[in-house]
């Protein structure tokens, strides 16, 4: 069985997560060897996932943690033992 580009795109996310079963994975790998478009889509998707996950992209507001623990501490005092 040879798979087409559309079929590869449907599995890109699972492929990135290593959740594609072995036979299909081998088919996708074979397709990627000769398909520049699917290789570029896979590489760009993986690159996007890595960049979005970087801690510098989504940061907590300055002082967030201190304010949270201050309020939490006050409430814990009120709640008693």
């Amino acid at each position: 069985m040879r798979i087409d580009c559309q079929h590869v795109w449907e599995h890109i996310s699972a492929y990135i997560d290593g959740e594609v079963e072995a036979v299909l994975r081998a088919e996708i790998d074979r397709h990627l060897e000769t398909c520049e478009i699917c290789s570029a889509i896979l590489d760009s998707t993986r690159n996007v996932v890595v960049l979005v996950a970087d801690d510098r992209v989504f940061e907590l507001p300055a002082g967030f943690s201190r304010r949270l623990h201050d309020r939490l501490g006050r409430e814990m005092e009120l709640a008693g033992p």
């Binding site: 795109w9 960049l51 996950a53 992209v57 943690s65 304010r67 939490l72």
Partner: protein, 220 residues
């Protein structure tokens, strides 16, 4: 020396889970201040989840604080059949939905049922080559802004999943539990979200890739 070997071997297998359970036991036994440390790893995912839901930094921060308080007050009800973080995220989500109702801004769009049948164009951006954008490129503020804009532009049901799965690196099971959806729904939504992000970002990201040297006069 007196500890039974079976306990030691359990500890060796699941140090994280053991220490979390042990910390909770100590808090409930009276060492209340340990709760601060227990909650610390939850702060970021809780805030980001609430920001996704409420779309307002001040509201998200306020509800994050209320989530911490509620988790403390209900700690005795935590059964330990999920990670503490998963339990806290469920509280955060419910508190966030409650706040939306209170604010009268609850959108009627379905967050769960039927959403995964939605039709849409999840075709990725078609490219013929890709030059890797390294993480160092994030030193440029405009790249971070571009990524935030793309994630924030995702429909809510996809944004939640990207946030927990890709940004907070939770596994599929924990993501499903925190959002109270099936693991299958997590996979479908994650796939669509990544396709939407690739489509939105790939055409623009090339500007942040290192320049090729083009020694042989090939494609640069």
């Amino acid at each position: 020396m007196e500890e039974p070997p079976v306990i030691l071997s359990e500890n060796a297998r699941k140090p994280g889970a053991e220490s979390e359970a042990e910390t909770i036991r100590r808090i409930l036994a009276g060492e209340r201040s340990l709760f601060h440390e227990l909650f610390r790893p939850c702060e970021r995912p809780v805030y980001l989840l609430l920001l996704t839901l409420l779309k307002n930094e001040a509201e998200a921060e306020d509800v994050a604080q209320e989530t911490a308080i509620k988790a403390y007050l209900n700690l005795r009800n935590f059964r330990g059949d999920s990670q503490f973080r998963t339990w806290v995220l469920s509280i955060a989500r419910n508190e966030g939905l409650g706040r939306l109702r209170k604010l009268g801004t609850r959108r009627e769009e379905s967050l769960d049922a039927g959403a995964d049948d939605a039709t849409g164009d999840f075709t990725p951006a078609i490219l013929t080559s890709w030059r890797e954008v390294p993480a160092e490129a994030l030193e440029r503020k405009e790249l971070g802004a571009m990524l935030r804009k793309a994630v924030n532009g995702l429909p809510e049901i996809y944004r939640n999943v990207v946030l927990l799965r890709d940004i907070e690196e939770m596994d599929i099971r924990e993501t499903a539990a925190a959002l109270e959806i099936t693991e299958g729904a997590v996979k479908v939504r994650l796939h669509r979200a990544r396709a939407l992000l690739q489509k939105a970002l790939a055409p623009q990201l090339g500007a942040f890739a290192p320049k090729r040297k083009g020694w042989f006069g090939g494609r640069a």
